[in-house]
Subunit: 465 residues, 2 copies
């Protein structure tokens, strides 16, 4: 990144001023788009899903083209000291998709081109998504659809136009080893915002992130990888919190060194043996396939359903697809605390069956809200009962409902919280948790496959103003 780009990025982070669209304009625009488009998402029997069938041999739910994605089974053996063994359905999509944002600098400030995008699983239909959100099946036109807008910027970019290009994981409990290419480009060429697209500053996006379900998961994961320079000179006056974030971002040594965290992860990845095998969906134990859903008899965790989607917009689009619906909302909480004079964040090393590498760093608390209350005493997720009861001294600095990706998940929302602990409160931290600075978090983001999508969503919501 050039110095000019770096400065423009920080100005973007710290301003909501935008001559193209005020934050209020964007809110109205999304509200109008939500009113204008007619979206019908109807739950239908699997047998009525055009373009999809259960494979005769495996029972997997597959697209007729053999591409796109499928619902398959997974056999999971996890062991540490106790042996765990379970089977479950999972989304299989062995291709890397693009989550790409185009940026441009206007008048010394960097703007990001976001799209008002309809996704069938969204609670509110339209959310702000990246410039380009395309699976390989999309952009090689397996669906015989139109070529996605702005695709050529991503397929034909020069190295010097890249602000960020990372392979990052999707939800490890729902996807089998799925990754997307999180990429931000600053193209030399002129870029015109077409009808469904708007230029926004990072400051504006942060304001919108305070609202429920405005900025979609794909936008959040892409933006989470941006690093901000530590040099405070020339910056407008910052809040105490903003100053803490810049200082934390500049710190590569916290309570642990980066090497210390890497060694701790090597240890955990050795201890948590995880053997995951794909399985025909029809052989999955503990789940049943009915006419309308793939579900557990006790209806826990999630179910897979089929939907018929019709979108009436400038033109009419209609298609069928499976979606995954959680049985409860979830919650992700990231604890923050000033430690040794630097802001730290408490991450847990979490095993999820679809993880690319056994263990990824996750938020302090991450779970479905309903399930934990069923857990035997002492087996609830760490910190959750105390947090839930308001017994931890501190305050919320981020608190909003955020959606999972509406192209795969049906009305899935998770409460996203960043919770700033009071100075001096000492938590009793289990050995699969570690306090990291923001600089360390961004360093692990840089090398891919270290931070899960839930913690990236929270990192993206940190406001520096």
């Amino acid at each position: 990144m050039t110095d000019a780009a770096r400065n423009a990025l920080v100005r973007s982070l710290l301003t909501e001023e935008n001559p193209f669209n005020s934050t209020g304009d964007v809110i109205d625009w999304i509200a109008n788009r939500n009113r204008e488009v007619g979206v019908s998402v109807e739950e239908i029997p699997f047998a009525a899903m055009k373009g999809w069938h259960f494979d005769g041999e495996t029972g997997n739910l597959v697209h007729d083209s053999g591409r796109f994605f499928s619902i398959i089974g997974l056999d999971v053996r996890a062991s540490t000291y106790t042996q765990l063994h379970w089977q479950q359905p999972v989304i299989n999509q062995p291709e890397v998709g693009y989550l790409g944002i185009v940026a441009k600098i206007f008048d010394g400030v960097m703007y990001f081109l976001l799209q008002a995008k309809i996704e069938p699983g969204n609670v509110n239909c339209v959310q702000l998504s990246p410039t380009l959100q395309a699976t390989r099946s999309n952009y090689t036109c397996v669906h015989k659809g139109r070529i996605p807008a702005y695709l050529d910027y991503f397929r034909k970019h020069s190295p010097h136009e890249v602000l960020l290009d990372q392979l990052q994981s999707e939800q490890g409990a729902r996807f089998y080893r799925k990754r997307n290419r999180n990429i931000i480009l600053l193209p030399d060429a002129k870029v015109t915002a077409t009808e469904d697209f708007r230029w926004l500053t990072l400051g504006q996006i942060h304001t919108l992130l305070r609202r429920d379900n405005m900025v979609n998961m794909d936008t959040r994961t892409v933006l989470s990888g941006l690093r901000f320079p530590a040099d405070e000179s020339g910056l407008p006056p910052l809040s105490d919190w903003g100053r803490e974030l810049f200082a934390s971002e500049a710190s590569m040594d916290g309570e642990s060194t980066v090497d210390g965290v890497l060694y701790w992860l090597s240890e955990l990845k050795t201890v948590y043996e995880l053997v995951v095998d794909k399985l025909p969906l029809r052989d999955v134990d503990g789940w049943m396939v009915t006419e309308r859903e793939i579900v557990r008899p006790d209806r826990r965790f999630f179910r897979v359903l089929g939907v018929d989607v019709t979108i009436e917009n400038r033109e009419v689009a209609n298609w069928c697809q499976p979606l995954v619906q959680p049985m409860q909302h979830g919650i992700s909480v990231l604890f923050a605390q000033r430690r040794r004079g630097v802001m730290h964040f408490l991450l847990q090393a979490k095993v999820e069956c679809g993880n690319f590498d056994v263990v990824e760093l996750a938020p302090t608390i991450q779970c479905q809200t309903g399930n934990w209350r069923l857990a035997p005493p002492g087996l609830a997720p760490a910190f959750l009962p105390e947090f839930d009861a308001g017994r931890i001294p501190g305050r919320m600095v981020v608190d909003a409902m955020q959606s999972e990706e509406g192209g795969r998940f049906y009305r899935e929302q998770n409460r996203n919280v960043v919770f700033l602990l009071d100075d001096g409160v000492e938590l009793d931290v289990p050995k699969n948790f570690k306090w990291l600075t923001l600089g360390q978090i961004k360093e692990f983001l840089r090398f891919n496959n270290y931070l899960n999508i839930q913690v990236r969503s929270l990192v993206a919501a940190l406001e520096y103003r």
Copy 2:
């Protein structure tokens, strides 16, 4: 690492002086051990392999305990612009083993405790191996054998005793996603070298690496991760080559930045789609299982055989196991060149079916020596015909035959070459190759799963004196 440890490490790198054993002593010791031990490795029919059987359902070759390792099938679909699809047998061992070295500082110099270890596949029986080389099956005593020596140092270490702790990959063309924990400890406690163990300096190990098949692959991969400080003050006079290495190690920016290399890898991992599925061995196309071997009808690539091993030493040990034998020796060549005043190394991004992450960085040239001459003109591995014909101006700085791990591979040797190109020679470099400094190489080693075992073997052989 403390400053004292860092200084002791660099002194170890630069000296062959050793009051405990001279390099000549070590060479004699290994020669004697090779003479003393009676090792018989007899190729036998699979049906005669005690403790092993072909699974009735899958046809996989498995250990009766269900643990240890097995030979299974793999279905591989790789695509870029052309579609490749093949099936092959592969070693499956879904557990992370220890490759551990204990270090101690005596009189300001760091010493590494290596073991004279017999492995059935070795061309010469005994080679220098790490202090501890143990699969999870070993150290949890599935074989009901003795607990490996020095295991407790690794199971009960404190964080401050760790010099290095990385998960690194094994051979991606032969193993399915196999990784080992490469770890070096500097324990506070006293360590006594027992009969099969000797303390060596890094300088001595480098001298031994100039000889064929003395230092085993496991030792080479563990040592490859060590980083040496750049500060030349207080060092004994170095060779020009040694000075170049220290300077290259200090350089994190070369022809490309670390971010530039990461972005290039994101691009390649997106382009090279790789779908790998486990398959019952009996369903593998193009391979046959006979009474004595698993092999292709055209006898290309490799074969799997069964052996009966008897070692007569202080006590007699006898066991049976499968081994993998390549059909030819291989060659690994790493090109080095001074570019922009800093020594660079030319790495290729290579797809191998068992890779943990699609693409890993490999040596400039890596192949079996026989296979490439069968390739149609223009399809030989890049640089190999010119290198083979001596048409590239430069000189060898490393050149020795080195063994693959003798616990899995039968008499497999690869020629290990580091080739220093003359200044100013400009190679025509394909786009899946990149020049990296040693500092950048070590940075990627640090974050795991970036450099394959063949290039780590070459990095370990670089002499800094």
